[in-house]
Symmetry: C2
Amino acid sequence: MADDFTLTCPIPISRYPHVVMAHGGGGKLMHDLIERMIAPTFGGPLAESRHDGAMFHMENGRLAFTTDSYVVQPLFFPGGDIGSMAVHGTVNDLSMCGARPLYLSLAFIIEEGLPMETLWRVVQSVRQAADNAGVQIVTGDTKVVDRGKGDGIFINTAGIGVIEHDLNIDPRQVRPGDVAILSGDIGRHGIAIMATREGLEFESHIESDSAPLAAAVQQLIAAGIRIRCLRDLTRGGLSSALIEIAEAAHVHVRLDETRVSVRDDVRGACEILGLDPLYVANEGRFIAFVDPADADRTLEILRQHAPGGESAAVIGTVLPDETPGRVTLRSAIGVTRNVDMLSGEQLPRIC
Amino acid sequence: MADDFTLTCPIPISRYPHVVMAHGGGGKLMHDLIERMIAPTFGGPLAESRHDGAMFHMENGRLAFTTDSYVVQPLFFPGGDIGSMAVHGTVNDLSMCGARPLYLSLAFIIEEGLPMETLWRVVQSVRQAADNAGVQIVTGDTKVVDRGKGDGIFINTAGIGVIEHDLNIDPRQVRPGDVAILSGDIGRHGIAIMATREGLEFESHIESDSAPLAAAVQQLIAAGIRIRCLRDLTRGGLSSALIEIAEAAHVHVRLDETRVSVRDDVRGACEILGLDPLYVANEGRFIAFVDPADADRTLEILRQHAPGGESAAVIGTVLPDETPGRVTLRSAIGVTRNVDMLSGEQLPRIC
């Protein structure tokens, strides 16, 4: 695989085996990197005009705008890499606003000495993920920092999407009686990263769930599901997302642990690593709070989105609460406990 | 000054003197950082809803979208800091598209161990610069990387602006006969950074020119100036900007060196440091290519924008060219030479 990339990298690797400071210096090398590698890969506004930004026409209406930086280590892991994650994460944040993702910006902070081939693999992965998610990379930036002042490559993407419906999707819309629906099994992204980082081998191969959620969300909206709130489960996992929503909505979310799908191999890995799957990061799962009358139709739609969607389930219900921000979990053996936000950190640099 | 910040920092510095990994971990510490420091500082959509992005209404029309990461060292320098630069740079890129800047995203990549007070100073500087430039920070992200894997703090901003006119501002619009107008004196930003970095003391205090260009550009547009192209002079300086435009437009730009304003102290510092002011970075200067009939009115407007604008001048003219992308300079003693793009790098991490 490395050889294929070496063959096609538009910057001659024999001459520039590694990224050097001048690739971010505003001179000829940076110009070459953009003109030969970045612009041809993404085309469109990024390639057509040597401008400081992209321009496009938008119809009258609501827009969503979001940003995330990606500092994941390792850069490549089973089921994804920092490039695909940088697209999925931002596409998913737009989707959680109920928006149809359209345009992404792409900014690299590269550490001097990064193999040129690694950069090329990441750039291609960004392109492929953008194509799959139906978004266009329209503007970008490249900076290079001295060796020892970065970590290979960091990526920032910002995204713009259009909101094409009248729903008010907002955590504060969640109300007693609503149901909480989880879009699939949890914990795979975090475990895939940890396994790679620690050099662990599990019985089965665990791949990240990293994926774009735009199609599933657009289908829910098109079906007229009365969505109150959507939230993707990234840093902090399912538990943090639920606590944030419960706090914003001043409600009590009661979970049924037996309904939360965790694959056996993921559960086993969590036990070995001492992790609680409720807190493990995901990059392709979300929680939807919907009107209870729409629960069945929501499940029907989510279950079409394989892999993972087949285990979508109603995992909880919303109760009125005297103390805002309460999440409780009823375990398999019938014990109920509070779910708290982690004070420290479970898995650093997971995204 | 440090004491004032220490007193008002909303995160108790006695307890958290430095940023720790968990401030980016998705748990309680990150939540606190956002809820107590970031959200109250910026208010608006960033504070109102615990959402994954911002939403706002836009009228039918053209938008501009741009991004830049900022990795400048040192973080604080005469005339600015990484926070104000992160606002000015992106506001200026939108302005160069002819857009009125409206919304910015703000993403931090913090190195573990950054003094909490430094983060607080940067956050406040971002807010102040945003207020001055008339833009709102509407969405953000915070990541923390391990000690030795970053360099204090990196910032990414992306921006959205609206294009409220019918001009087609684009390098390819530049045509023979147009004049090139420089908005002020050049070289101050690069020299201010270098002086701080190298611990140099010059006879006079040289401050960065870092400033938002939105007001000047909006005034040019409102005055009906036939603008062909705008470009701010950042990495690579005046020379790189002109070469890129000359290449895109397939023209020859002929400069008159005597018209390019460089302050005496900046010129002296350039001589000591062995730098050519034409290649030194700026953060508050731009070049405008306009119809020759509008040159005087353009100068009149630019000269109102102190400090620096009083030395705005027509520095060159556009000639047809057989070899695309040619920039030549006629020196004070009447010698004409080609201006080339730097192949290496003059000043690393200047922005």
